[in-house]
């Protein structure tokens, strides 16, 4: 065993790692731990008064139809956002990966939305889809004679929210998929071409499986995005309305915690969100390991 040769002292590695641990401990593990503890209390005014209620907050959340609706909203939102932003991202990457004129320009344009902050994107879409004075309804009105109630109809509001979230994140997926596509082993695809495989077959039998590791990585990143980054869109576009139809867990945590001062309930929801994302990530990794071809 010679693997420790670089460090003469047994303590040196720990000393070198200490700064990282301290930062993790103070800014990550301690707050997480505190959140778990807080979720067992009924807290008023950010902790000016506290009462232990055991799992009372969790019971409240899992029995209140309003919270169940929020879970349901979050699940639909996350599922569709992940599915759409990844499939659209993959489709666009394949197109942008062709050797055509101006592909640099196309790629740049595809990635652009990702560079906007969610707040800016939210405001832009708020202007575009304003029911009375937005350009979208103006154009629809003069061409088709319809002016949909984008923000007052529950289904349309959710659809718009999903659309914005997908629009915003497609660029991220395009960046990674294009990188993945460019690293594919050319000889395999060439062999398939010689054997007479159709483009459709080449994509599904070769390209897609080879992109497996990238897909798993993006699946996890997109899931996290859908759960945690939707806040700005909800806050700017709908504020959870109409009547909770677009209220997502991450927005409700903020609301309960900072607008209604129900810190304990908000902490319990954070724990639920945390557990849900951990479980999803584990499933995705497991599933990925058995199905993914890592090459080499």
């Amino acid at each position: 065993m010679d693997t420790h040769a670089a460090y003469k002292s047994r303590w040196l590695p720990w000393v070198l790692l200490a700064p990282t641990f301290v930062i993790l401990l103070v800014f990550l593990y301690y707050p997480t731990f505190e959140t778990f503890i807080l979720s067992l209390y009924r807290v008023a005014f950010f902790g000016l008064s506290k009462q232990f209620v055991g799992f009372g907050n969790y019971k409240e959340i899992f029995t209140n139809p309003e919270y169940l609706q929020i879970f349901w909203n979050t699940a639909i939102f996350a599922f569709l956002v992940v599915l759409l932003s990844m499939s659209v991202g993959l489709g666009l990457s394949v197109l942008a990966n062709q050797k055509i004129r101006g592909r640099g320009f196309y790629r740049l344009m595809l990635i652009w939305p990702y560079a906007l902050s969610p707040a800016v994107a939210g405001v832009i879409f708020l202007f575009l889809f304003n029911e009375q004075s937005g350009i979208v309804n103006y154009l629809l009105g003069i061409t088709l004679g319809i002016t949909p109630n984008w923000l007052t109809d529950p289904v349309l509001a959710m659809a718009l929210l999903i659309f914005v979230a997908v629009w915003k994140n497609v660029g991220y997926n395009v960046v990674f998929y294009i990188a993945g596509l460019q690293n594919l082993p050319g000889e395999v695809l060439e062999a398939a071409l010689i054997d007479g495989a159709t483009p459709w077959q080449r994509f599904w039998k070769i390209t897609f499986p080879l992109l497996g590791p990238m897909t798993i990585f993006l699946l996890i990143m997109n899931t996290i995005y859908a759960f945690f980054d939707a806040f700005a869109f909800v806050d700017l576009l709908t504020k959870g309305g109409p009547s909770n139809a677009t209220n997502l867990l991450i927005y409700n945590i903020y609301r309960d915690g900072f607008e209604y001062y129900k810190t304990g309930l908000a902490a319990a929801q954070s724990v639920i969100l945390f557990v849900a994302v951990v479980i999803l990530t584990i499933i995705q990794l497991r599933f990925g390991e058995s199905r993914t071809h890592y090459g080499g």
Binding site: R42, A44, F45, F46, Q51, E66, S243, E259
Partner: protein, 436 residues
């Protein structure tokens, strides 16, 4: 010129010399934009006139953000001295226990200022018989209307609708003559609902609106509420009422009115100054009128909306006195006159009203008149005193969600009943969390 420079230089030097002994006071508020600049100018004036005190003023975001920040700061032991808190946060502020009941600390020779508040304002902010905070920005909802569109529609531009029924009729005429794409707008905000409840002389919570004792029951499932929601839904279904689709979107409603897409808007009196400028810029004639009320009821009056200034606990006596000096100066007769002219918020002192009357201000600025008359004609009772409910911000969301559900076709009776149950539960949880 040279002499002036010397004087300035000397006073600057003197300023430095005294700087060390100045009492530092922090003041947090929730006004952005033009109002923020207005406040900063006033604070500068104060600091200039009171060499021993230096007030530092900070804009902390929305009303809710400001209250959050103050509670967090108090928890960490460095609360700002003065905090602006919205009216519906009053019960919460008392429950938080981080503020002092201000009336107990006002020096005897300045007590007269507390007796000078106009009645509706004193009624709102006197909680349990005394002022817990200094009333500052106060407003009501009024009707703003576009006189040009009224003329086009053949309506009397000097006689805006006064009741729900008259609004409906005006809307029919505006629709029929195609004078404007939409008839009326206001933000989908619970504040208007609260006002219409008060106009009908009804209460929003038990124990006399939470004024006689802590409220334990919110009244959403009521006749008064049903009248409001039924009319609102009718306006919405017929396409007369427009809103941006987002709850509590004040700017969205203003935009619809100012861009002349809606003939009328109901919004706060604090926008009078903004509306006058905007109507001038957009080339239409602005009219103002009282808040329309349900037909067949006697107009009971509106509740004072806005915010007041609170003094936090636990500062050395010297700082507390300095903070009070600032507070009483900031809301004195002259400053209230300036504040009213600069924003449209009410001059909340009787003496400042007298100054404005002496200046013929209301005759020269009729738009401000409607706002103020409506306030003065409000009857003083529990309904217009306004409800004190701990979790008021949450109750507001419940009411706003209920209205959106009704728009989507939910049965009104059922919607009111469900919202009532939710509100009661929220109140119970809140009361339990503060140990009451």
């Amino acid at each position: 010129m040279k002499r002036l420079a010397t004087v300035i230089g000397l006073s600057a030097l003197l300023g430095f010399a005294f700087a060390a002994e100045k009492v530092q006071i922090t003041f947090w508020h929730a006004f952005g934009g033009g109002r923020k600049a207005f406040i900063e100018r006033a604070v500068e004036d104060f600091n200039f006139m009171h060499p021993g005190i230096e007030v530092k003023v900070e804009y902390k975001g929305s009303y809710r953000d400001t209250l959050n920040a103050a509670i967090l700061a108090a928890k960490q032991g460095n609360a700002p001295h003065i905090v602006q808190i919205f009216e519906v946060g009053s019960q919460m502020a008392i429950d938080s226990g981080i503020f002092v009941p201000i009336e107990d600390y006002v020096p005897a020779d300045l007590k007269f200022q507390l007796d000078d508040y106009i009645k509706p304002v004193a009624n709102y902010y006197r909680i349990g018989g005394k002022f817990n905070s200094i009333p500052w920005n106060s407003s009501n909802p009024i009707l703003y209307y576009n006189k040009d569109i009224f003329k086009k529609a053949g309506l009397d531009p000097e006689n805006p609708p006064k009741t729900f029924g008259e609004v409906m009729k005006a809307c029919e005429q505006i629709e029929a003559t195609k004078a404007a794409p939409k008839c009326i707008t206001w933000p989908l905000h619970s504040w208007f609902v609260e006002q219409w409840i008060a106009e009908q002389g009804a209460l929003l919570a038990n124990n006399e609106n939470g004024r006689a004792a802590r409220a334990t029951n919110v009244y959403i499932d009521s006749e008064a509420m049903k009248r409001i929601v039924t009319w609102w839904k009718d306006l919405y279904d017929k396409g007369y009422y427009a809103y941006s689709g987002k709850p509590e979107d004040w700017d969205g409603a203003n935009q619809l009115f100012v861009s002349q897409q809606a003939a009328m808007e109901i919004t706060s009196t604090s926008d009078v100054t903004f509306m006058q400028t905007a109507s001038y810029e957009n080339g239409f004639e602005l009219g103002t009128g009282f808040l329309p009320v349900p037909d067949g009821i006697e107009r009971n009056g509106t509740v004072v909306g806005g915010a007041s200034l609170w003094l936090t606990k636990g500062h050395p006596q010297k700082e507390q006195e300095a903070a009070l000096t600032f507070l009483l100066w900031f809301t004195n007769t002259e400053n209230m006159v300036r504040w009213h002219k600069g924003t449209g918020y009410f001059p909340v002192l009787n003496t400042s009203v007298k100054v404005l009357e002496w200046q013929n201000w209301f005759e020269r600025n009729p738009a401000y008149r409607a706002a103020f008359d409506q306030l003065l004609q409000s009857k003083a009772n529990r309904a217009t005193q306004g409800a004190l409910i701990g979790p008021f911000p949450e109750i507001r969301t419940i009411i706003e969600n209920m209205i959106q559900e009704v728009f989507q076709g939910k049965d009104i009776d059922k919607a009111l009943k469900d919202a009532d149950a939710k509100a009661d539960k929220a109140l119970q949880q809140y009361n339990a969390s503060v140990g009451k």
